[in-house]
């Protein structure tokens, strides 16, 4: 591993200078750091969490959630109901803990961004070269036969029987063995999360990495960004009392859609549009389980290997999501002896996730402590869409031969047949009836050429504050309708090009 500065070991305050300081080492920040360093620019990359690789990943869910997830996985949005939104807090950010699914934002989404939100230069022909570059860097390819298992095959069979189009998921991996624990860190470093791809390449090109450094404030002078101040912490997240002051010609904020707006807010960065922190979309999701007569052994494959894209334009995507017993158990309905009876059939369970592209817009504001105030109330239209998504997933499972399906809906936790699944597709249910999670926060510092309507311009420059940029999913003007990683990285690649031209 290329040397880096672990904030826990810093004994004195540090003063740094660079061309660019990048805050956040996730999908966006790592790309910007790498692209600029490769062009010979002097880059500092700051990360709040620690730096871990496959050797540190034990595949124990509880241990890895403690190690890699922000606030031990207890992050989310307030609303009825509250929705957990797990985030990574480590070098690589959420790419370290995601399933490695790599989809480009669909052409019609990019067209909508251009036509409805005034985003320039970001239609498919404009971004194609960046998508291709990122996919080549990450080795993106569809899941191969060796790691495509019975959970996915059964579901694929069910979807085909119903005439629903789907395909194997393109993933960022090299040498994946199908260990099946993507969401708690790839122990083989096969998943090409940015901590094993872009970050080391950035370092090799000269970028300086500081870990366990939480940026408190962006420094402004004469209305321009001139650097940041960060505080170092130990492995227990306690501040050590040491601080980093990094002055730079440009500052790039890539903390993610839930943390970028609060940092801008705390730093008193002007917000001419008044839109900062609003427009939060999260892709609400529910895991749908199914019981089969025969063994599925869903842990013996890539957890997220197959996707039904038949309904993507409608705003529904259905993707595999099989997890180890400790993570599966809480989402199975029931308690006591009844729950044990269900878990006793764990080897016969299948599991897929039903996600929706949400129209609902939540909000993010700076909180008093480290976690921002995130509010999100699932609207009726999205509640109907989620019910339909769950109903479709259940219908596919029944078509695949499932005996019963666990819906994640409190009023109807167990579905017994395809008729009930089809009825659910038309159901009108309150938001509080769903047991939801969300994995793709986006939109809270969205781009657009009009400073009265957008927080950044089409390249990611913050309107009204020269030399300040945003490079994460905050940029999306609306839901990207698919897993956002590749689109974040493509936009970050483009941003780096623009930024380099200004240096």
């Amino acid at each position: 591993m290329t040397p880096f500065v672990d904030g826990a070991t810093v004994a004195e305050d540090i003063h740094e200078k660079a061309d660019v300081v990048v805050v956040g080492s996730g999908a966006g920040g790592a790309v910007v750091a790498r692209e600029l360093a490769a062009r010979g620019k002097d880059v500092i990359l700051l990360e709040e969490g620690g730096f871990f690789t496959g050797r540190d990943f034990t595949a124990n869910p509880r241990e890895m959630i403690d190690l890699l997830y922000r606030n031990r996985g207890l992050t989310g949005a307030l609303g009825r109901p509250p929705i957990p939104i797990p985030l990574g807090r480590c070098v690589g950010g959420t790419t370290t803990i995601n399933s490695g699914t790599c989809y480009r934002a669909p052409d019609y989404v990019l067209d909508e961004w251009a036509e409805r939100h005034g985003v320039a230069g970001a239609r498919e022909p404009d971004l194609r070269q960046y998508f291709e570059r990122v996919e080549a860097e990450l080795g993106v390819r569809p899941v191969p036969d060796e790691t495509y298992g019975r959970n996915s095959r059964l579901f694929e069979r069910g979807a085909a029987a119903l005439g629903y189009d789907g395909a194997r998921i393109p993933r960022n991996e090299r040498g994946c063995l199908g260990t099946g624990v993507c969401a708690i860190g790839c122990p083989q470093d096969a998943k090409q999360a940015v901590h094993v791809s872009y970050v080391p390449r950035a370092q090799a090109a000269g970028a300086r990495l500081y870990t366990r450094c939480r940026v408190d404030r962006i420094l402004l002078s004469g209305g321009q960004a001139i650097g940041v101040i960060g505080r170092f912490a130990d492995a227990s997240e306690r501040e050590t009392g040491r601080e980093l002051r990094a002055l730079a010609r440009h500052v790039v904020v890539a903390c993610g859609a839930l943390l970028t707006p609060p940092l801008l807010e705390r730093s008193a960065v002007p917000d001419p549009s008044g839109r900062r922190g609003q427009n939060l979309h999260i892709h609400p999701a529910t895991r749908v389980g199914a019981l089969f007569d025969d063994e599925v052994r869903g842990w013996e494959e890539v957890p997220q290997a197959y996707n039904v894209h038949h309904f993507t334009r409608e705003g529904i995507f259905i993707q595999g999501q099989f997890v180890l017993p400790a993570l599966e158990a809480p989402v199975l309905p029931g308690v006591g002896a009844a729950h044990k009876a269900r878990m006793a059939r764990y080897a016969r369970l299948g599991s897929f996730g039903a996600l929706i592209s949400d129209e609902t817009a939540g909000r993010v504001r700076a909180g008093r402590g480290r976690w921002p105030r995130v509010t999100y109330q699932l609207g009726p239209a999205d509640a109907r869409k989620l019910a339909r998504a769950i109903g479709l997933t259940a219908e596919i499972f029944f078509a695949a031969g499932a005996r019963e399906v666990y819906s994640g809906i409190h009023s109807q936790p167990v579905l017994q047949n395809g008729d009930e699944a089809r009825a659910l597709q038309q159901a009108i249910l309150p938001a509080a009836d769903f047991e939801m999670m969300a994995f793709h926060p986006q939109g809270t510092a969205h781009m657009g050429e009009d400073p009265r309507a957008a927080v950044t311009d089409s390249a990611g420059r913050v309107h009204g504050t020269p030399r300040l940029w945003v490079a994460d999913a905050s940029l999306f003007p609306s839901s990207c309708k698919v897993n956002p990683q590749i689109t974040i990285m493509a936009l970050a690649t483009r941003l780096a090009e623009h930024l380099a031209a200004e240096l």
Partner: protein, 285 residues
């Protein structure tokens, strides 16, 4: 000193100062106090409170203000050690509030009655809230907390049934106590509140005995009812319990034979890749 204790000291010091100031005002300017409050209520249409030259009630009022001042000051010096004084202080404020509310409704709708009812009622709730904070954050992890936790976990994952292993077989209560302690300085307090909510929640919602005094089957039924309750908070409580309890339970290898899972596949993969040496050392393979 923990932040909670600093807050409690500050709170009761501020209360003592406020009570002392108010008592002094009552004593030095009794008629002006009444006149001021009458004037405040007049624009909104409240009738004036009747004036009186009798000072008997005033002397009792000043004595009462002296008493609450001394109570608040005594608590401020040692909020945890003198927490037993908090309900006494709250009782005084509640009595003042309720009697004024009664006079407002039954005697004369004077502003002074309404103002005192609201102010002293709020103060009573604040003091009771402080008492609740002390209770929640004191002596967590004690025998009673542990007994409740074991009762809950036994209902969540009982012994027997589909497979033999239950919560008691893997010391699940120890695991959760450690988890909450690591989570946050107020984590143990949070666990206590969660357990007490369930313990007395069954009295309120199921109209039965407290949770821990139910037999195992009744406890399971209670948890199941909470899981599907129309009240979101009850569902959220059980969802949180399941998330933390079952995460810690099913991470234990001794639970896996019962659910048809084994980690041979995972171990094979860990020992096959580029980090095989590191994983082998960790697994003792």
């Amino acid at each position: 000193m923990p932040a909670v204790d600093r807050f409690l000291r500050l709170l009761f010091t501020a209360l003592a100062a406020a009570f002392a100031t108010t008592g002094l005002l009552f004593f030095c300017f009794p008629d002006a106090t009444i006149a001021t409050l009458n004037a405040a209520g007049r624009p909104v249409g409240f009738p004036p409170a009747p004036a009186s030259a009798l000072r008997f009630w005033l002397s009792l009022a000043v004595a009462y203000m002296m008493l609450v001042t001394l109570l608040a000051a005594a608590i401020a010096r040692d909020p945890r050690g003198r927490a037993d004084l908090m309900p006494i202080l709250a009782a005084g404020k509640a009595t003042s509030s309720l009697t004024c509310a009664g006079y407002f409704v039954a005697s004369s709708p004077a502003f002074i009655y309404l103002a005192n009812a609201l102010v002293d009622g709020t103060l009573a709730l604040v003091v009771l809230g402080a008492y609740g904070v002390v209770w929640a954050t004191s002596g967590t992890g004690g025998a009673r907390d542990r007994q409740l936790l074991q009762a809950v976990l036994e209902a969540l994952v009982p012994r027997g049934g589909a497979f033999a292993t239950g919560a008691a077989d893997v010391a699940l209560d120890d695991a959760l106590v450690r988890y909450f302690a690591r989570l946050h300085p107020l984590g143990p307090a949070g666990l206590r509140v969660l357990l007490r909510s369930l313990e007395y929640g069954t009295v309120v919602f199921e109209r039965t005995r407290p949770f821990s005094r139910l037999d195992l089957a009744a406890r399971e039924r209670a948890l199941a009812a909470w899981e599907t309750s129309r009240l979101g908070l009850r569902r959220q409580l059980v969802a949180s319990l399941k998330l933390l309890g079952l995460l810690h339970f099913y991470e234990r290898p001794e639970t896996w034979p019962g659910i048809g899972y084994d980690d041979s596949y995972l171990r094979r993969k860990l020992l096959a890749g580029p980090n095989a040496a590191a994983h082998a050392a960790r697994l003792g393979a």
